[in-house]
Symmetry: C2
Subunit: 269 residues, 2 copies
């Protein structure tokens, strides 16, 4: 098949237009066409006009509809003729929808490359001070009116049985400006607890709430779940971690970096 | 406690000096002192002189000994007087040794911040086209003369029972310029298989080998493990993924992006 143009998926990293890598900015400056989406993650400090000024490019913002229903046809059309850069929050392929775009491009004979960016996954692990290799499967907690929290509940339960931590992303509906909050996510899990009764999410279960990972004002707070029902984390986006067994250094990190109760030391290994 | 200066941990991202974020570069330019380490990960394209030129700063390279045995005392001394930037490959807190540095700083009353960078963890997930939420615990495969591969073997087995994928980092000894290769890692796992006999790593087990994630020449190859024993992945660093159950889109991705055998489609769900 004749090689056409290419799509370069560029990760924007976290929070704002300063999260992109130098490589990603170079690719953007050299692109024939630049596209972007902001619906798979919230970047609370992001300014499109700053990015356009810094890159010297007009950036076409795409909606979920443009990408998922219209099969990213605007990007494909541009990439048949030259180099299209597609700017994506975080690390580009963590949102599965972009894997579909990449598959579609390759089927059409369009080359693809990835310029990676910081992801909320490693950022939250890093901010918490918990050890990366102790995290099991991660999961997204959906809005309770869409789906009950049974999959997240079971994932946390499964990880807990293995002593592993669980990282939970909290669902967002950017087009409606709605972001599941930490209290809402905990209520959804506690509601599931009343039905599943496996004693996984109780009022005194240790949780770590993270708000605005990657921004200049992240909040990282470790405490009994019940305390989060009234705690003010400020603006979105939010993430929750349910720790499994703690290494003593992890307990120390949660106490120092996340204000966890000192008695956590006694429970660590 | 009186607030002293601060340490800003800045992620360098992957491969070379262009992997740092714009924010990370700003922090470096504004630092009073800049330190760096390159022993927790290999950045094959990295040039210290380029970084120094781009940032306008002298960068002090620290060894494992400087950080782990001497408790990063050079960074601590600088951070008592002003702003010390500590440049770290990938996303800074994924290497647990840097969590220790952060703990030590906070105990001394030195503030800490993190500027995140792209991590090999999300990069490899992205390059493979496998779905992030299907990865279980990740693990490092050690040099066989140091430690047999029993922990990685058991982690892969545990994830496999849950249908989850396993991401394996391959150990490095940068100061000796030694990098565990994909054939060596597989041999270590196959050797463990002969002792543990759980039929986890067989010659026809599907594996995904990734070399130089985040560089301009990454190799991503999916095939039966035995084929990797003679496959040339080029230079380090290396990563291995052992997939669990595959979604049909994941099978499609491995076929398109990693040259997996077409028959993989029949085994997917």
């Amino acid at each position: 098949m004749k090689q056409l143009g290419e799509i370069v998926f560029v990760g924007l990293g976290l929070n704002d237009e300063m999260g992109i890598s130098l490589q990603g900015m170079e690719e953007t400056k050299n692109a024939d066409c630049v596209f972007m989406e902001l619906y798979t993650s919230l970047m609370p400090g992001f300014s499109l006009s700053n990015l356009e000024r810094m890159s010297g490019k007009d950036v076409t913002m795409l909606s979920r509809k443009n990408i998922e229903e219209e099969n990213a046809e605007k990007i494909m059309a541009a990439a048949k003729k030259g180099k299209a850069v597609f700017l994506v929050p975080g690390d580009p392929m963590i949102a599965t929808t972009h894997i579909s775009v990449r598959l579609e491009a390759e089927k059409k004979g369009i080359g693809t490359r990835i310029v990676h960016g910081a992801s909320v996954l490693s950022a939250v692990i890093g901010l918490s001070g918990l050890h990366n290799y102790k995290f099991g499967k991660s999961v997204t907690i959906p809005f309770p009116e869409d789906t009950p929290a049974e999959t997240p509940y079971q994932t946390i339960a499964q990880n807990r049985r293995l002593g592993a931590h669980t990282l939970c992303l909290l669902d967002i509906k950017v087009e409606e400006r709605r972001y599941l909050t930490i209290p809402q996510a905990l209520e959804a899990l506690m509601d599931t607890e009343t039905r599943m009764k496996q004693a996984i999410i109780k009022t005194d279960t240790l949780a770590v709430g993270v708000a605005r990972a990657g921004s200049k004002t992240p909040i990282v707070k470790a405490d009994a779940a019940k305390r989060f029902l009234t705690y003010d984390f400020g603006g979105p986006p939010y993430t929750l971690v349910f720790p499994g067994k703690l290494h003593f250094m992890e307990a120390e990190s949660l106490i120092r970096f996340a204000g966890a109760p000192e008695k956590l030391r006694e429970e660590a290994e």
